[in-house]
């Protein structure tokens, strides 16, 4: 293993069907280059992202969890992203409280027209995760 080799973090991305999924699609069809570390999981709305999705992803070995949805006011279900914002703010605070690195969890607003922004969000997230290395604090021991 050379010293040059960098750690490639695994990112689980919960993307809402109406905005961020379409945004990631746009990034794809626009041929925008961004790291392939994120595994997208489409959810109907960020409002439906249970805190347990985040915790479970970390437990199964994700290095970072990204939740992305429509901008405030643009939710397909009118208020789903507002509810997500409140709920996931609490999750973020709680994770930091027990000593998980704040950069392991991130939220973003990406609309269907923001392919470039989606690519940038993933790029930034991966850049921030690389120096943290593998997440083994709460990863389940499967040995």
């Amino acid at each position: 293993m050379s010293d040059e080799q960098v750690y490639e973090p695994k990112v689980v991305a919960f993307l809402c069907k109406w905005c961020s999924s379409a945004g990631s699609d746009l990034a794809g069809v626009s041929r925008i280059q961004y790291p392939a570390n994120a595994t997208p999981i489409q959810v109907m709305c960020t409002g439906g992202v249970s805190p347990m999705y985040v915790l479970s992803a970390l437990r199964k070995g994700a290095d970072g969890v990204l939740v992305s949805g429509c901008h405030p006011g643009d939710c397909h279900y009118i208020e789903g992203n507002y509810l997500a914002r409140r709920k996931l703010h609490l999750v973020k605070e709680l994770l930091e409280f027990v000593g998980i690195e704040p950069n392991r969890f991130r939220m973003s607003w990406v609309s269907a027209a923001e392919g470039g922004k989606f690519a940038q969000v993933v790029r930034d997230f991966v850049e921030d995760l690389r120096p943290l290395g593998p997440q083994d604090k709460v990863k389940a021991d499967r040995s």
Partner: protein, 344 residues
């Protein structure tokens, strides 16, 4: 100073007049000085009720159990049930009503004000008494008077041996009540609210993780915290799925399809999942009765997690759990000016 006679008379009166079908209160337990919860249904049982520093149980749990028993027997009682409630018990009863677990007219709240003496912390008491076994405890002004096994009496300042949650209590007076005994001493705060939390947050990230890793390693998943919590009323807990019946005909596919977000094994990772999930489920609902921390057999400071959520709700969202029956819950409501800066 609350007169025990008043509590007994009230309970006896209500049962005699047939205003309530039962009264939930405390009686002398069988373990040393400790009181234990009791449900009395006959007027003559009223004399067994007690009120002393060991009445630390959150009795609203028994309102939940009562409601569950009703659902099980498919019978709807016509009379309300009475509960003797401290400040914290009254707040958790409010949260339960806020969530429509029962209606206001199904419960008769006999409030007892803690009057700044709170309830005892048995760990602190054991240290203060250096191992001597008390057989009885009583309130006396700002002090507790303990009767020891050898018959001698010991007087301790309540402040010294009071539970941490009582030291930090902001509302020792049961605001929601049908009737209240004792004086309103709200505003008294022996220690700053969230003081333990603020002290803990001084630590660095690495120190915090070391601390919680140690706690999560020790958790044995006995679920005592869940059993004692009046807010943990789900029939099947999402972190402990036990309802699926595995019979010889159950296929491997069916077993595999069962969703288990958090495993039941008591490992650091799964305990982390359990305690985080529980803290999230209690966000905006936990009223800091501190019972989870008291019953924990391995002394995990669970109040820290719940306090963190409570303070977050208070400071960021202006939400006070257990303040109003009509308010919408913390995570089912939002405001336009909720924090947004953490989102890219």
């Amino acid at each position: 100073m609350i007169n025990l006679k008043d509590i007994r008379d009230t309970a006896r009166d209500m049962l005699t007049k047939g205003e309530v079908r039962a009264v939930i209160g405390w009686q002398q337990g069988s373990r040393g000085m400790a009181a234990e919860p009791v449900v009395i249904t006959a007027p003559e049982q009223a004399d067994s009720l007690v009120w002393n520093p060991t009445c630390y149980h959150n009795l609203s749990l028994y309102l939940v159990n009562d409601k569950k028993a009703q659902a099980h027997s498919k019978q709807k009682p016509t009379l309300p049930i009475a509960i003797i409630a401290k400040g914290c018990d009254a707040r958790s009863t409010v949260v339960l009503m806020q969530e429509n677990y029962f209606r206001r007219d199904e419960v008769y709240i006999i409030g007892v004000s803690c009057e700044g003496t709170g309830v005892v912390d048995e760990h602190k008491l054991a240290v203060a008494l250096q191992g001597a076994q008390p057989t009885a405890a009583a309130f006396e002004g700002e002090d507790y008077v303990l009767t020891l096994a050898d018959g001698s009496e010991k007087r301790l300042s309540a402040r010294e041996v009071m539970a941490d949650r009582c030291l930090e209590c902001r509302e020792p007076f049961p605001k929601e009540n049908n009737l209240v005994l004792g004086e309103d001493k709200t505003g008294r705060s022996l220690e700053a609210p969230f003081a333990a939390l603020a002290r803990f947050e001084q630590k660095s990230e690495a120190e915090r993780w070391d601390f919680w890793k140690h706690q999560f390693e020790r958790c044995i998943r006995c679920f005592a915290c869940r059993s004692v919590c009046p807010m943990c009323f789900c029939d099947e807990c999402v972190v402990d799925s036990i309802e699926m019946k595995v019979v010889p005909a159950t296929t491997a596919q069916e077993k595999a399809d069962r969703v288990r977000w958090i495993e039941r094994s008591a490992t650091t990772a799964d305990n982390f999942g359990y305690h985080m999930t529980r803290a999230m489920h209690l966000a905006g609902r936990c009223i800091d009765c501190g019972e989870c921390e008291r019953v924990c057999p391995v002394n995990i400071p669970l109040r820290l997690l719940n306090n963190k959520m409570e303070r977050e709700a208070r400071e960021r969202f202006g939400y006070e759990p257990g303040a109003s029956i009509g308010a919408s819950s913390l995570v089912a409501s939002f405001r336009d000016d909720d924090p947004n800066a953490f989102i890219r």
